[in-house]
């Protein structure tokens, strides 16, 4: 007789224990516990799933599959566009792997969950410092859903019917925003950009913003990598019409760029993934959500917020969830959002990352990326027919490269770069912005050496020269 399989994760499955417990309950068969399940629906067969595998076999199987992937360690990659390759310090990985954090649930019992609560309070506080805002929540799913929630929050506050966004925006972000506001029947208006310099057209903005506008949203750096310098003017136009100003950020830029809170942002959203989180093929990400400290804003915030408090008898500081009356488990259909599970562990990674870098590290990170990006643009622009960047503007860590005058298509070029030179070129944005022609969005971070850039330039040179 074959030995019964005893599963390592199910201690009470051994016959002795199982029988003892069944006897205690007064049943002879587990099926009796399912007696109230209607017969007509019961699954009369086994699930069509594989047989249980040993840990050794699972590891072999999955690792064999994953070896088919080529990571950015095998293939130098210049992809960014919403998910960026940064170095994750070993200490960060170590901290998020502490299983006291990793295997805990939402801290509903604060006294036994002080570690995660304090860490989340620190995360919120660090993000507030980074943006010059007062209150951050302890995370949203990602930048895109944070933007959707920000637009809905603006509508809750001023009850208006339109949201104004820039034409240059990540298509996923734009589509997610649309999904989130569609049930509110909110109208989304796009603002033109100056084709020479990429900057938002203030004229068009003034034209689009009215007393119907709930919020104006801008991104800095923009999706196509250039830095928007007219932020103060945009804030003024927005506030003049009584709308809320929402700013989207890549937080790695905030060691060198002015902080949204200093130029009038009411709500800040962004992607926290680059702060200590791996690429993970695009998920999990970390939605930043921050606002000014007025009660009318705080009360309308979505998501979990951790606050500082004291023990009931005083004498000791502690941390717990605050303002839960905004949340779904208390307020149900009148909650500010349905979000419950968030990205807490990614927020923990970001807190550890920011603590490790400190003010100087964050500044150096920004400097390094801007400098290398400028170097890359200059080198690429030397290639005949290549325009880099497309817009005459300062760029942070991403930039457009246009190939119109080379007669080559981005897609074909990226294929050759990959197949022949083992390099992942920039993201093809030609379909997203047809008016920009054959254009790719390249990303250079602190992980790229100047040598990596030179290799890319040489590869592109030889591809383009061959053509001629």
């Amino acid at each position: 007789m074959p030995k019964a399989h005893v599963h390592p994760y199910i201690p009470n499955a051994i016959p002795k224990t199982k029988n003892e417990m069944m006897k205690e309950i007064g049943i002879k068969n587990i099926d009796e516990l399912y007696a109230d399940v209607p017969k007509e629906f019961k699954l009369r067969r086994k699930l069509k799933l594989p047989k249980p595998m040993s840990e050794h076999d699972v590891r072999n199987h999955v690792e064999t599959l994953l070896r088919k992937n080529k990571s950015s360690r095998d293939t130098p990659s210049f992809l960014g566009a919403g998910c960026w390759s940064h170095y994750v310090p070993a200490a960060v990985d170590n901290i998020v792997q502490r299983t006291e954090f990793l295997t805990s649930y939402t801290p509903y019992q604060p006294e036994i969950s002080q570690g995660m609560l304090q860490a989340m309070f620190e995360y919120q506080s660090l993000i507030c410092e980074l943006t010059a805002m007062d209150v951050a929540n302890s995370s949203m799913y990602d930048w895109a859903s944070a933007l959707g929630e920000a637009a809905r929050m603006a509508v809750r506050i001023n009850n208006r019917t339109e949201v104004v966004v820039p034409k240059i925006i990540h298509p996923d972000r734009n589509a997610t925003l649309q999904t989130y506001v569609e049930p509110l029947k909110l109208k989304i208006k796009s603002v033109d950009y100056n084709p020479e310099i990429g900057q938002l057209s203030l004229e068009n903005l003034k034209h689009q913003v009215s007393e119907k506008t709930a919020a104006v949203y801008v991104e800095n750096p923009s999706y196509l990598g250039f830095i928007e310098t007219q932020v103060e003017e945009i804030a003024e136009i927005t506030h003049d019409r009584g709308a809320l100003f929402i700013v989207g950020v890549d937080p790695t830029s905030l060691g060198v760029l002015k902080l949204p809170g200093e130029y009038g942002a009411d709500i800040v959203v962004g992607e926290g993934q680059p702060l200590g989180n791996h690429l993970n093929y695009g998920g999990p990400l970390l939605g930043l959500f921050v606002c000014r400290g007025e009660m009318e804003l705080i009360r309308q915030m979505p998501g979990r917020v951790i606050g500082m408090t004291t023990t009931l008898k005083g004498g000791k500081t502690g941390f717990c969830m605050a303002l839960q009356t905004r949340e779904q488990h208390i307020r149900r259909e009148r909650a500010t959002s349905n979000i419950c599970t968030n990205e807490a562990l990614c927020a923990l990674a970001s807190a550890a990352y920011l603590a490790l870098l400190g003010p100087q590290g964050l500044r150096e990170l920004g400097e390094a990326m801007m400098t290398k990006t400028q170097y890359a643009m200059q080198q690429l622009a030397k290639i005949k027919g290549v325009k880099a960047p497309l817009f005459k503007a300062l760029h942070f860590k991403e930039f457009t490269v246009n190939f119109d005058k080379t007669g080559k298509k981005v897609q074909a070029m990226n294929q050759t770069l990959l197949k022949k030179y083992g390099i992942h070129g920039g993201k093809n944005v030609s379909k997203e912005f047809p008016e920009l022609g054959q254009t790719a969005l390249y990303c250079v971070t602190e992980t790229h050496s100047l040598d990596d850039v030179d290799k890319l330039v040489r590869a592109l040179q030889s591809i383009l020269e061959k053509k001629r």
Binding site: D134, A144, L279, G293, T309, L356
Partner: protein, 513 residues
């Protein structure tokens, strides 16, 4: 005796010293030489003038700080975690290990499909498995959490009615009064008016009330089965028929799926849309609040509304790819494709368990819950409301009402006292239809000995309640901190939601850190 670490760990802004750093960036000389020049090009309007107010710590200080904090946090790896509705089962270590390899952590979502065939195959297979487990036609892996899946499901209902020309008419979404808070919240976000149906004396949906509630305005019903009392809705056939006949759709909240794996499938019960909480049913760690993953499965007719892109396989080319060709899709609900690192762990989990292991997990989770029902019923001060004789599924909800009446000790006090014995407490005050509720979900991961210890702890607590109620009202004593003032944290006059706010207002005066 349990004693949690209590480090009096300062808030990180009070640690470190000027000039220290915990990480050095790769900084080639050429870059640092040119940096100043590059930054000088930034116009004043957008240039940062003073450095951010971040703490300055060495690597060792950062690691110690967070390690100390971790010691003041309770997780599944430390012990029993019967938090009802949250399915806090064991998180297998192999799955964390698999998710930590460069073949997953260092791949970019915009990489050429030819360079990510491994992960695409995993996602494709996982979506087929989840369809088989839930009895649905097609699965979308994108939602980041259960509530995100609910929102997507509600939006798909909306899209379906719109497709049929009924979007203006079908404006009401029905939820039972015992539903998770996310259900009505998700429905509202998707633009529906929420209609609440009461539970009957058995704790199940009151069929008569449901029949009155449905109309040509009904968009659908959101239901958890087994419900939040841990009771199987045995009239599910009639419920499904009532909703479908009225032209509504049936949504399955998968929070309690663990109870029925391999026994009965939501799709077979008549549900049109089903979400799965990966971080509950499939053993992935919850990370102190997330990330999770909340894939949804739908029936054939609704597949066309799923968000883009969908994972697909080209049999001829033997090539996995992302299919964006879905003209009737509701669009996007997030960036990229979903919480891949979480989904990969679930793939490993299902492989380890196999179909039979999943079914056994369901059986033993139900056995464990009913064992607790039997044992806890005998304890003074607690009662089992609703259908006392019916078996529970994966969880049971006790009421501490008798204890409250007789001693003034509340469910919250019992919960706090449980912490003192080195266990996490059950969910309290939910579902709303049970007074002084203690919602207990042991899962299949716990051994009988630990269940017996939990029973002993509740017995002790009961006798403490009847002899020394103040002991419970002031609990806990053995955790990192004593009972906290949660009202203070939320009061406009005393709230300190960030270090910046705390410093501006300086209202938490007792601050030891």
């Amino acid at each position: 005796m349990f004693r949690q670490a209590s480090w009096n760990e300062p808030v990180i802004f009070n640690l470190g010293s000027r000039g220290r750093r915990g990480f050095s960036l790769p900084s080639p000389e050429e870059v640092s030489r040119r940096a100043e020049e590059v930054l000088d090009q930034l116009p004043k309007a957008i240039k940062r003038t003073k450095p951010p107010n971040l703490p300055e710590l060495s690597e060792a200080e950062v690691v110690r700080h967070f390690t100390r904090l971790s010691q003041m946090n309770y997780g599944v790896d430390l012990g029993f975690y019967p938090l009802g509705s949250c399915t806090m089962k064991y998180n297998p270590k192999i799955d964390d290990l698999l998710a930590g390899g460069a073949g997953i952590t260092e791949i970019h979502p915009d990489q050429d499909e030819s360079t990510v065939q491994g992960v695409l195959e995993i996602l494709h297979t996982l979506s087929l498995w989840l369809a088989e487990i839930t009895g649905t036609a097609e699965v979308c892996l994108q939602p980041s959490a259960g509530a995100h899946g609910e929102l997507l499901g509600a939006l798909i209902m909306r899209a379906c009615h719109k497709h049929n020309g009924n979007s203006e008419k079908r404006t009401e979404l029905i939820v039972p009064d015992s539903a998770h808070g996310t259900n009505p919240a998700s429905g509202t976000m998707a633009g529906f008016k929420i209609v609440v149906v009461p539970s009957n004396q058995n704790g199940c949906v009151d069929l008569k009330a449901l029949k009155t509630a449905v109309s040509e305005r009904t968009a659908g019903l959101m239901l958890t089965n087994p419900n939040t009392l841990g009771i199987f809705e045995e009239e599910i056939a009639e419920i499904a028929e009532t909703v479908h006949e009225a032209g509504g759709l049936l949504y399955y909240d998968g929070a309690n799926l663990n109870a029925i794996l391999g026994k009965i499938r939501p799709g077979d019960m008549g549900f049109d849309i089903v979400h799965v909480n990966i971080h509950k049913t499939f053993g992935t760690p919850h990370g102190g609040g997330g990330p999770g993953a909340g894939p949804i499965g739908v029936c054939k007719e609704l597949a066309k509304f799923l968000p883009v892109p969908q994972i697909a396989f080209d049999k001829k080319r033997k090539h996995y790819f992302w299919d964006y060709n879905k003209p009737e899709s509701i669009g996007k609900i997030r960036s990229f494709y979903g919480n891949i690192a979480v989904l990969l762990r679930a793939y490993g989990y299902i492989l380890s368990m196999g179909g039979e292991g999943l079914e056994e997990a369901a059986e033993i989770s139900v056995l464990n819950a009913n064992y607790l029902v039997k044992k806890l019923k005998e304890i003074r001060g607690f009662e089992l409301p609703y259908a006392e004789r019916r078996p529970r599924k994966h969880e049971c909800v006790f009421s501490g009402k008798p204890m409250f009446k007789e001693t003034g000790v509340r469910a919250a006090d019992v919960a706090k006292r449980i912490l003192d014995y080195g266990m996490h407490s059950p969910t309290t005050y939910f579902p709303l239809i049970v007074e002084e509720a203690l919602m207990i979900e042991p899962t299949e991961s716990v051994e009988k000995e630990e269940l017996d210890r939990f029973v002993e702890v509740l017995k002790k607590i009961s006798s403490e309640a009847y002899t020394n109620p103040d002991l419970l009202k002031n609990a806990p004593y053995n955790t990192a901190v004593a009972r906290l003032d949660e009202v203070k944290a939320s009061h406009p006059k005393t709230m300190a939601l960030s270090w910046r706010m705390h410093q501006k207002r300086n209202v938490i005066k007792d601050a030891a850190p």
